[in-house]
């Protein structure tokens, strides 16, 4: 069948099971948009800024487990996606980005709206392509999806010159992708797993440290099974939240800079640290030399570069988290674990004691405490909502006080920490998980970075609920200034902030506000009940800080407490 490039693209999207595309048109992709008019089975969501498109594709991927897709024009359309691509890359999220490009004959001429987006995104994509020949188009798209979703997932960009889109070629669905240089290792080495079994049996004070890799591989059931079977308490990175039930008695809470006292203490004292799907980010380890100083460290990861990158590891296991944990469970089943409860008692008692003496805490007074808003949201939703977050204190309080049940329910820009991520990601998540309550926990600063996407939410009837913890500050930076810069609040106080309630109304959404603690519950309940998108503006304590806090570069044991 002879087809135009634009139609080959759409055929391949259907072939890959894509039903939703987030995008924004322009000259270089006008022919693709023209072809889209007839592609009834592809739902195109017109965002209001290309950064919104890429974050939405990211949120969609996380909530649905499918590959997120984004389509933008050349030049400024392409550069507007770079922050979102970098965020997806840091968090290993499978997205495919199609960018328009000037015709091949003009490439390199500084043509109108030409940028070398392949060059720009080389260090922040898993791989990228410039398609120079329409006959390569179908195969390239097939490879792009394959690379994005397999192994350690990540964003893949495909740059499409306008003449390639308009040229025709014989179309046949390409066969299975085989790349001689790309073959992720899924199955772990059994010898290494046997060493882990041995370590588990000898350990007196073991801890499991789980990360985004567990969620990405859907290994949460296997993780839970392992923890319960061997009675090992679990902590996780920000990206790992939801991989283990936040209400389980073995749950320690998050680890690291704003981790719980008991998680940071447990890791500092443990004699065995079994890590799965983590990359030992500096926000987690604090001072590397004093991280888990008494522990034998096991690291399970599908990406060999993650292993031994930041900290020395005793037992490396290269493999998919789900498969590795499942095989580990089978090996443990052959062992006698009957005495394990007694064996762990003193360790679990110690942890319980840390929890009792130094829990997460705040005091609710006359002014609304941001933590109280999140706790109330948790109570009202029973932990069933998908939580997207912005970046800053709001993100950390969400991580601390919203106890998650499942993976894919905590959608946050973890590695990059990109303000403006939350609202578009929530919109994408809502498109990927219709019928589920999606809440964006936001700061008054971050929400203003992509507020325009409220129009997208209203237009496509994606009923996301935005909870603004309005502290009048770039709170997280203010907190650092308070603690480490003698309260010199340089450029962190907002002298003017829009009226978010009126803003919501201007966009055609609902706006609600709570200024007193006794209003919080009612406003949240009303907001959740509303049919469409809602902004809830909570006027919170301006100078509340997130605790515990490990100062940057300090050992995680050295926490500042409330």
């Amino acid at each position: 069948m002879e087809l135009k490039g634009a139609h080959i693209l759409l055929k391949m999207l259907q072939e890959e099971g894509v039903d939703t595309v987030f995008g924004y048109p322009g000259g270089a992709v006008i022919d693709i948009y023209d072809a889209l008019m007839e592609a009834g089975d592809i739902n195109h969501i017109l965002v209001r800024h290309e950064q919104g498109a890429i974050h939405a594709a990211d949120g969609y991927a996380r909530a649905s487990g499918k590959v997120g897709v984004c389509l933008v024009t050349s030049g400024p359309g392409a550069t507007n996606t770079v922050t979102g691509i970098a965020s997806a890359y840091m968090d290993s999220i499978p997205v495919v980005i199609f960018t328009g490009q000037v015709p091949t004959a003009l490439i390199g001429n500084d043509a109108f709206q030409e940028v070398d987006i392949v060059g720009i995104t080389r260090p922040c994509t898993k791989h990228n392509y410039l398609v120079k020949d329409v006959r390569q188009l179908a195969r390239t798209i097939k490879e792009a999806f394959h690379i994005a979703r397999s192994g350690r997932p990540g964003p893949v960009l495909v740059d499409l010159p306008k003449d390639v889109i308009n040229a025709t070629a014989q179309f046949k669905v390409p066969g299975e992708v085989r790349l001689k240089s790309y073959n992720p290792t899924y199955k772990p080495n059994i010898k290494q797993l046997n060493k882990v079994v041995d370590l588990i049996q000898k350990a007196k004070k073991p801890v499991i440290f789980s990360g985004g890799g567990v969620s990405l591989s859907h290994g949460h059931h296997e993780l839970t099974e392992l923890a319960r079977k061997a009675q090992i308490p679990v902590t996780s990175s920000l990206m790992g939240l939801g991989g283990f039930p936040g209400t389980d008695s073995l749950w320690l809470g998050m680890l690291g800079m704003h981790g719980t006292f008991r998680a940071n203490m447990a890791v500092s004292e443990c004699d065995l640290l079994i890590s799965a799907g983590v990359r030992f980010d500096d926000r987690v380890t604090g001072k590397v030399d004093e991280f888990a100083p008494h522990a034998k460290i096991v690291q399970i990861d599908i990406d060999p570069t993650s292993i031994q990158k930041n900290i020395p590891v005793h037992v490396p296991v290269v493999g998919d988290c789900k498969i590795s944990l499942s095989q580990l469970n089978s090996l443990l089943d052959k062992e006698d674990l009957s005495g394990v409860e007694d064996q762990r008692k003193s360790w679990l008692d110690q942890i319980e004691q840390w929890k009792e003496t130094t829990p997460l805490a705040y005091k609710q007074g006359d002014v609304i405490k941001p933590q109280y808003v999140i706790e109330t949201l948790y109570d009202l939703t029973k932990g069933d909502a998908i939580i997207a977050t912005e970046v800053g204190q709001n993100q950390m309080w969400a991580a601390q006080y919203y106890h998650l049940k499942e993976p894919g329910h905590f959608i946050t820009s973890g590695g990059l920490g990109a303000m403006g991520f939350g609202l578009p990601a929530a919109i994408g998540a809502q498109a990927g998980a219709p019928g589920v309550l999606v809440v964006d926990i936001a700061g008054d600063g971050s929400i203003q970075m992509n507020i325009q996407e409220l129009a997208t939410a209203v237009q496509y009837k994606l009923p996301v609920k935005v909870v603004i913890l309005n502290n009048g500050f770039l709170g997280m930076v203010r907190q650092w200034q308070e603690l480490f810069y003698e309260r010199r609040y340089s450029s962190t106080k907002f002298v003017h902030t829009p009226d978010f309630v009126k803003l919501a109304e201007a966009y055609g959404a609902t706006g609600l506000r709570a200024s007193k603690p006794e209003e919080v519950s009612a406003v949240l309940a009303e907001g959740i009940k509303c049919e469409g998108p809602v902004i809830m503006d909570f006027i919170v304590e301006p100078e509340e800080s997130v605790y515990p806090m490990v100062p940057a570069g300090a050992p995680i044991k050295k926490m500042l407490l409330v």
Partner: protein
């Protein structure tokens, strides 16, 4: 940890942009490249990059893994500590006043160099061999005054195919 020099032989897809993926990886992650040479292999769809880099064992391990992670990298071999042959070529433009000409030619002969260009006041000598040999020639030429050097960077192959 001690830094050591490593000789890597990297097979890559012979495609535009591949070299920039590799050099970008090195600059982005702060690894260093001491020398680099690239050319097609017997199979024209594959190029061989021969690279000398330096780092602690942990860094060299990362370099190896990070290179392997690039989709266009087919194979990375660390030749350090294995049996291999390595050659490098240098063109050396050395001052050659009449009273020094005989001496320069003698040194060049000892190292099996070849004079490839002669001027009133200079010779350009081509030398090839391993890095040490070229450094030795350079040292001996130094007293005459070296005007310019062009070095290729090493190329290498394992002695036996494993």
């Amino acid at each position: 940890m001690t830094e050591k020099r490593h000789l890597l032989s990297i097979l890559v897809d012979n495609e535009p942009g591949v070299l920039s993926r590799i050099t970008g990886l090195f600059s982005g992650r702060g690894y260093n490249i001491e020398s680099l040479s690239v050319a097609e292999t017997v199979d024209p769809s594959i190029s061989r990059i021969t690279m000398v880099t330096k780092g602690s064992p942990m860094i060299i391990e990362q370099i190896n893994k990070q290179l392997n992670k690039l989709i266009n990298v087919i194979k990375v071999s660390d030749l350090t500590g294995t049996k291999y042959v390595q050659r490098e070529m240098a063109l050396i433009k050395v001052n050659a006043r009449s009273e020094h000409r005989a001496e320069i030619l003698r040194i060049s002969d000892i190292f099996r160099g070849q004079v490839v260009d002669v001027g009133v006041e200079h010779f350009t000598v081509k030398v090839e061999g391993d890095t040490e040999k070229i450094n030795a020639v350079l040292n001996l030429f130094k007293p005459f005054g070296i005007r310019e050097i062009a070095r290729t960077g090493g190329v290498a192959l394992p002695r036996e195919n494993k």
